[in-house]
Symmetry: C2
Subunit: 385 residues, 2 copies
């Protein structure tokens, strides 16, 4: 169900020939209302794809009727022609749905620099075809249509007090969001104003997708959208809704991590006792982006020296010679020296836990990352993506 689990939404996913495999590649999600509230956050990469540039305008008034998504081409760095493709996609959807093109979000994913006449024709045809097939049962196909190197679709449903949140996501590489990440569509039938939707979404993405750093590479096409139908007629308790939305985003972020390209370990880096949450994030991210650390985890090697060498490059407040590092429950480093023997650490499970105690305050953060593997190198060198 995912995005159609809340009342007031229909969806579809169709094969428009953008993927050479013939798999579904265009998805549409439509909000039937009564509310047509939308919020979205976008990649902070200055190199932005045309659909991002378009959607940033659409979201300004907080009104969204529908979202059109395609895989098989990022429509990024495709010039004026590419922007026109996005514009025409919104126009075509608006015409068929009898709404304004200015209320249609567009997302694309695939190879940067691809977006020619053939691409445009296929996206437009796919949009028409998907809109003709819209239904409450279309969520599954929609979540499959946005997949690129993903090996499986990512979906979530969270039930609140007489309201529901649904969501779908795609992403397996170039997975290191700045402000948002990847393509994610969230829906709810709770009653929210545009301002509430925006605030809840920003909070939820900040502590979920923004804490996922699989490979240090920030995408040009990231977009997380929340569509609000209000069809339940229920105004949720703000804290309860925010918590449910955050949990839904974390669940999707963990699905993205678990399906990261070539990864053999899902690494949860917990930074504790930092002077600030920002410090905790900076420290965790420095480890998540350290190729030597990531390669060591692939080799089941609890090489804590690489953790300290990574965090020493940050300007976070802590004494490098008074930091504790735990790996899978074993304290391998304390007070500037080795602690338990590295042989005690079992890194064979996929789930890997690194705890860094900075002893500098009471803030904390969790960063999710993956290891650096032969399969990652293979997937990202063997063909363009």
């Amino acid at each position: 169900m995912s995005v159609t689990a809340p009342q007031g939404f229909v969806a579809a996913g169709v094969a428009a020939g953008l993927k050479s495999t013939g798999r579904p590649d265009v998805a549409v999600v439509v909000n039937r209302g009564p509310l047509k509230v939308g919020a979205a956050v976008f990649t902070s990469n200055r190199a932005k794809a045309n659909p991002v540039i378009w959607s940033q305008q659409v979201i300004r008034d907080g009104t969204v009727e529908a979202i059109v998504l395609n895989a098989g081409g990022a429509n990024c760095f495709t010039g004026a022609f590419g922007f026109q493709t996005t514009h025409e996609t919104a126009e075509r959807a608006a015409e068929l749905l009898a709404v304004s093109a200015g209320d249609i979000l567009v997302c694309s994913t695939g190879l940067i620099g691809s977006g020619d006449e053939v691409f445009r024709a296929k996206v437009l045809a796919g949009t028409e075809q998907a809109i003709a097939q819209l239904s409450a049962e279309g969520a599954e196909a929609a979540s499959e249509a946005i997949m690129t190197t993903d090996s499986r679709p990512k979906r979530v449903v969270a039930a609140g007090d007489a309201w529901t949140i649904g969501g779908m996501a795609k992403g397996a590489g170039m997975l290191a969001p700045g402000l948002a990440t990847m393509l994610v569509v969230l829906t709810t039938d709770a009653v929210l104003t545009p301002e509430e939707a925006d605030a809840h979404l920003r909070h939820a993405t900040r502590v979920s997708f923004d804490r996922l750093d699989s490979d240090g590479c920030m995408s040009t096409n990231d977009q997380v959208s929340l569509l609000v139908s209000g069809a339940s007629g229920v105004t949720p308790d703000p804290d309860e809704f925010r918590t449910a939305l955050t949990e839904a985003c974390i669940a999707l972020a963990e699905q993205l991590q678990a399906d990261a390209e070539g990864a053999s370990h899902d690494i949860r880096i917990v930074v504790e006792n930092a002077a600030s949450e920002d410090d905790a994030v900076v420290v965790g991210r420095s480890v998540a982006r350290n190729n030597l650390f990531k390669a060591a985890i692939f080799g089941n090697d609890p090489n804590w020296g690489r953790v300290l060498a990574a965090i020493g490059t940050t300007d976070a407040a802590f004494d490098p010679y008074d930091v504790d590092v735990w790996m899978n429950g074993v304290r391998v480093c304390t007070a500037g020296g080795p602690d338990r023997p590295r042989e005690e650490v079992d890194l064979t499970p996929r789930a890997t836990h690194v705890l860094i105690d900075l002893k500098a305050g009471d803030a904390s953060a969790i960063i999710l990352t993956n290891d650096l593997t032969h399969d990652y190198v293979h997937e990202n060198s063997a063909y363009s993506s």
Copy 2:
């Protein structure tokens, strides 16, 4: 010859049993004078090895008698015992050379966290043994003794106007300097004051080792030292000396790049027409640290979209939609869109050239990096280093 090419220097390299292979692992370089001038730059990583902490004190007065270097153990995060090991190493060398321990630089390289009683005993014995074998012919053995995962020693000799510069270096991984990098010893018989030596060395390292970013991982043990004997009796032209020292450092940096762990491409990223040199460096480094770009080059894929996605994460001054990207002489991207077909780019040679024209000013910088390969993952996951 390398470090003993200038007059006034002797060196030695011996096997002290620190390397399991039985290869040489302790080196000593001694300045016979008449000047005993020294300058050094160190890693900017806050996680610093004990020899770095020690040597930062030694260099304060600009006087250096000798430098002791070992491979087979980084003596980093080894606590008070480890610092005492470095101190004792300097004391032992000072005693045998009849000089002050406060004028002995110490460098170590190897696994972080290793530096126990056995390590100390071997380093001290190796220091004694090396000092007993000092000679003008010892430079070759010294350059071999500091190797870790290096497949070959790195040496340079530059002849000036009646003065000479010599140098040796080691480094193959954790190769992304902050202020200096790796272990490098430079020698000269030119006449220089401590202030001149320091200024020349800082200039030379800033545009050589500091522009090398093989794997984004900054070491805890980096140290570049310049020992000045003045034995030629010649005071060099400052510009001429600075140029020669810079060229010598670039030659060593290129040798380090060419021997980077597992690399199959030496990538020279030239950033042109930047608003400032800092901007050019930031832009070049963002590409050098992008795993997707590096994996693409390994796969001989001129994936310029990954270049733009990387530079878009920086705050350098440029318009992302008006940047030209050239790969091995072919302009693959211009004005926010594709240019020449990617098929025209031949990435099979090891030497790879990426030119990024920011069209934002007249500053430029060159960053040296390597690709991300299966061999890199293998070398850094199969065993601790």
